[in-house]
Amino acid sequence: MGGEAEVAPARALAASAWAFRWQVEVEASGRFERLADRLEQTGAAAELVALAQRSAADERRHAGLCAEQAALRGQDGPWTGAAPPPEIAPGGLPLRERVLYELVAGCCIAETASVAVLTALLEAARGTELQRVLRALARDEVQHARLGWAALTVARRESDVAFLSPFLPAMLGGHVDPDLYAPVTAEREDPALLEHGVLPHRLQRTLFERSLREVILPGLERLGVEVLPARRWLAEQRAGARRLGVAPA
């Protein structure tokens, strides 16, 4: 552990990260609310509609937890207001397919990767309060991820889900931080970030790739979505990173 001069940047970066998470959780809440409405509108199973509604409530609670963690590290609010979440699925698709697109991008990819990250953060966290928050987030995110996998399973029973395959690169590109495969400042690699519930940059990349390799891609393949476009996307990111001198994950 370094002195105060080394700890302070990690604390400030972490404050900013938790504030960003607040925004993401607020947006996710709106997204699940809208998904619940659309699932109902398209005649989805009542269990999936209910889970989407519960997920929206979870995300509102998560936003509060993230705001608390940001404030604890010196980040001021205001913790109010958020625009409606942007539409993410291609507008030309029928509603049922747009809903499935959003569930795959938001749950099978984003929430699934979040569980992997939260699991790693929990193992590294030392403070009991931070552990409590991370555990609460992880418990709910498991359910949110399952919503996507369940919806994809049901969709596959009723129709062809192969249309998702060419969209996987866009989903993955939208999920990752824009600089995940780019060089970053030394502060972003500081292991002290883990004590604040934030992943150092390289570890973030490692965990994302592991969750892709071990969970997301096998899951999509199992449920009838061809993942070759996703593998190509990943290979391109890694090649781009090598050209920039970024160490492999």
């Binding site: 998470r21 199973a45 269990e47 539409e87 993410i88 984003a110 953060l121």
Partner: protein, 64 residues
């Protein structure tokens, strides 16, 4: 941990074992779907939306 004590990630048949997270999330979701009531066919025609084009980002980044 050396090679002799590391738990094998392959089954006896050589296939790769699913990770713990795969079992919790993907298999958990598949099990959830098995308990779902049948979907009701939508009463409304499911027409393509002619609205705005998709945002390039799926809004999935979680800031972790």
């Amino acid at each position: 941990m050396d090679a002799s004590t590391r738990k094998s990630r392959k089954t006896a048949g050589g296939a790769r074992r699913p990770s713990r997270l795969f079992n919790v999330l993907v298999a958990g979701g598949i099990a959830l779907a098995a308990g779902c009531t049948c979907s009701k066919a939508s009463q409304k025609p499911d027409k393509p939306d002619d609205g705005a084009a998709a945002s390039p980002a799926p809004g999935g980044a979680r800031g972790w």
